[in-house]
């Protein structure tokens, strides 16, 4: 994949329903799975597939993105031959519409795409949870001399399908129609990853500039006959985090050991920023089952079916279940928590009880004391 450039894009609108958890961060830097940020998945997938140059398109709140990614060292992207660029996002040029990939993100960075020596470009969303080898669709791309390969999953539209979800119609591997969910329904749902040739991408940028149609999906729909678009089915675990429910469920999915193994315990690790934490200390009163725990923690309470990020402290006598606690949360003595999502640095005083539900977990924002 040395001939391929990776680009990670924000999906327009996906952050709106996550606002209570975003605070000062962008959707890609939302903490996930005990020690990761969502963007780690797309970035690691690219690097593990052999991509050596990646551009990340920023949105509002760049600082959390830059703070997390740094020079890209942890994703092996800070070497003589490998590098990471943070690209300008189109956030200050609001456009009308309700869609996913904003072509202004590409138009604003046109020189970056024009000058690249790579032949192909992977475009992947910053908020998907999956491990995926891009070499597989790249084979389809090369074999068919394609312009675009779109990755999809077998999923029929359901009650949670959004109007902006995209479905593909295929004949063989060839994509013959692309539709938003409200137009037409098939069972091949676009999985927010595609490979496009550099020449095709530059043409799409030109088309968008000329026509002032900034919705990439709409442009593809309009040109599906003239472009050689192929589909590739992703069969493994996939989740796209675009609301609190998906965030909660995607985290809880990791407690299924098969999912955990597929995502994390492989030869292709999910890379993230490394912290110098001591090992997690389990106390004499600890009672823990079915949990993911980050490093640097202190667990002396009862914790079940939950995710405790790095440096979480849980004192004696507390009972926690079905909950997510981000970095540096401190849970005092004899606290009862069920179905809560705590942002970083939440402090819960002794003898407090907070009980949420699957549908409506209790959310506390960063540095809250209760």
């Amino acid at each position: 994949m040395k001939d391929t450039l990776g680009v990670i894009v924000p999906l327009i609108g996906d952050d709106t329903n996550l606002n209570p958890l975003l605070g000062h961060r962008t959707i890609g830097t939302l903490p996930f799975g005990g020690r990761y940020r969502l963007i780690d998945f797309s970035l690691s997938n690219m690097v593990n597939s052999g991509v050596v140059k990646v551009g990340v398109i920023g949105t509002v709140r760049y600082s959390s993105l830059i703070d997390h990614l740094g020079t890209g060292k942890e994703w092996l992207l800070s070497r003589k031959t490998n590098d990471l660029s943070i690209l300008t996002g189109s956030v200050n040029r609001k456009i009308e519409g309700d869609y996913r990939i904003n072509m202004l993100d590409f138009i604003l960075n046109k020189p970056f795409f024009e000058k690249t020596t790579k032949d192909k470009v992977i475009i992947a969303a910053s908020n998907i949870v999956t491990t995926f080898d891009f070499n597989l669709p790249a084979q389809v791309f090369n074999k068919n001399d394609a312009d675009i390969v779109m990755i999809y999953r077998a999923e029929s539209p359901s009650a949670t399908t959004l109007n902006t979800d995209v479905f593909l119609t295929t004949e063989g591997h060839r994509v013959t129609a692309i539709d938003y969910a409200n137009d037409k329904k098939t069972s091949k749902k676009y999985a927010d990853m595609m490979i496009v040739s550099k020449d095709t991408l530059l043409k799409l940028i030109k088309t968008s500039e000329k026509s002032e149609e900034y919705d990439l999906m709409r442009i593809l729909m309009d040109n599906v006959d003239s472009l050689k678009i192929y589909g590739y089915e992703l069969e493994g675990y996939f989740n796209r985090v675009f609301d609190i429910n998906h965030y909660y469920n995607a985290n809880m999915d990791l407690l299924d050991y098969d999912v955990l193994k597929e995502l994390f315990l492989t030869e292709a690790p999910v890379y993230t920023k490394i912290k110098d934490n001591h090992p997690t200390r389990y106390g004499l009163n600890s009672h823990i089952e079915d949990c993911i725990v980050g490093s640097g923690g202190y667990i002396d309470g009862e914790i079940n079916h939950s995710i405790a990020f790095r440096e979480v402290e849980i004192e004696e006598g507390s009972k926690i279940s079905n909950s997510i606690m981000m970095q540096k949360c401190h849970i005092g003595k004899n606290v009862t928590l069920d179905h809560v999502i705590f942002d970083k640095e939440v402090t819960v005083r002794d003898n407090t009880s907070l009980i949420g539900t699957v549908e409506e977990p209790i959310i506390l924002s960063k540095a809250t004391t209760i």
């Binding site: 050991y257 001591h278 090992p279 009163n285 600890s286 993911i292």
Partner: protein
């Protein structure tokens, strides 16, 4: 280039008393406290003391140590031109020699130290677990107008005959030495940490190289020679946690100290933190049916069994029905269904088969600790 203090870290020893833990790597590279290696302690202390130049003297099986130290970035020792340098024995115009002793290792690297034109050279060893701000030691050395300062600590009188001891006057000036004496005259033990004025040490080393009868050792040769010349040698009293982890028993005990809240040593000190060089790993997963109490566990571990008063390094798999009690498990080990282990050290990537039983009684006898290897 100019820096006030160059630290020289003696890391070439085999550590044969650690048995199979050092078959494949040098003692300073042995895992400690889960994710750390013994060398993390002097290197982190150096970083916390704002020492920017460290030479690491390697000899015995250096590969793991070399790759672990890498460019020193993990300890902030990657300042261009300074930072950490790995110094193995080398071939020169007069031929090639192994390091014949601790002093010889430094003597063969006089050029390295001269490059930095330092006032002081701090000699450290790679087999001690402790936390020390070396800048205080160096300030003390300056204040005493010493030519050599030796860090010492009080040990119980009953234990004193196991150590190299120093006798001091009221001003803490050293007036005598005793090496593991039957009848100790003092209970101040040398910690093997020395500050020398470089100009003086340089001359002593050159003279020592010419002496065919010398064992080229700091404790046996250089320091007694300086003492015989009535040089200003002072003892720097250190009070705090310090352990030599040169034997299986002391290594085991020092690890277990991390689980003992009454021991005055905090591996999680935020003011003088300990650093280590680690890869990205998955978070730890404690599965259904697991029971974990009074233990330290690192990233990448998957636990389905019972863990009691034990320390787990990284990427360890503990299957269901396993019972671990008072154990130290090193990176990558796999302990299969139903195995029961007590008072064991399980080496890196060791595989303990299903239903295996290794139970040793709690005892002061080091032979009682099982060391299991791959």
């Amino acid at each position: 280039m100019k820096t006030e203090t160059v630290a020289m870290l003696l890391a070439g020893g085999q550590g044969s008393r650690l048995g199979s833990l050092t078959f494949n790597n040098a003692k300073p590279a042995v895992l400690f406290g889960g994710k750390y290696r013994i060398i993390d302690f002097p290197l982190s202390n150096a970083m916390n003391s704002e020492i920017d130049t460290v030479g690491v003297l390697t000899q015995y099986r250096p590969y793991v140590l070399n790759s672990y130290i890498s460019d020193g970035r993990a300890w902030g020792l990657d300042k261009p031109g300074y930072g950490v340098s790995i110094l193995p024995p080398y071939e020169g115009r007069k031929g090639a020699r192994w390091y014949a002793g601790t002093a010889d290792a430094i003597a063969q690297n006089i050029d390295f130290i001269d490059r930095y034109d330092p006032e002081y050279v701090l000699i450290l060893s790679g087999d001690h677990i402790y936390q020390m701000d070396y800048s205080k030691l160096i300030d003390y050395h300056k204040k005493k107008k010493a030519q050599l300062t030796i860090a010492v600590m009080e040990v119980p009188w009953d234990d004193a005959s196991r150590f190299g001891l120093v006798e001091v006057n009221d001003d803490m000036r050293i007036i005598g030495f005793q090496e593991k004496p039957e009848n100790p005259k003092s209970n101040l033990a040398s910690m093997g940490i020395y500050v020398f004025n470089w100009k003086i040490l340089r001359e002593e080393l050159l003279a020592d190289m010419e002496d065919d009868n010398s064992k080229h050792d700091f404790g046996m040769n250089i320091i007694p020679t300086m003492h015989a010349q009535d040089m200003r040698i002072f003892a720097y009293p250190f009070s705090g946690y310090w352990r030599d982890v040169g034997t299986i028993q002391s290594y085991f005990d020092a690890n277990m100290d991390l689980l003992d809240d009454s021991v005055d040593f905090n591996i999680n000190d935020k003011n003088l933190p300990f650093f280590s060089n680690n890869f990205s790993r998955s978070p730890q997963f404690i599965g259904s049916g697991a029971k974990v109490t009074d233990s330290l566990i690192c990233d990448g571990c998957v636990v389905f069994g019972t863990i009691e008063h034990s320390i787990l390094s990284q990427d360890i798999f503990i299957d269901k029905n396993v019972v671990l009690k008072n154990c130290i498990v090193h990176t990558g080990a796999v302990i299969e269904d139903g195995a029961v282990l007590e008072n064991c050290i399980v080496g890196s990537y060791a595989k303990v088969p299903a239903d295996a039983r290794y139970i040793a009684s709690e005892s002061d006898n080091p032979d009682e600790i099982h060391v299991l290897n791959s």
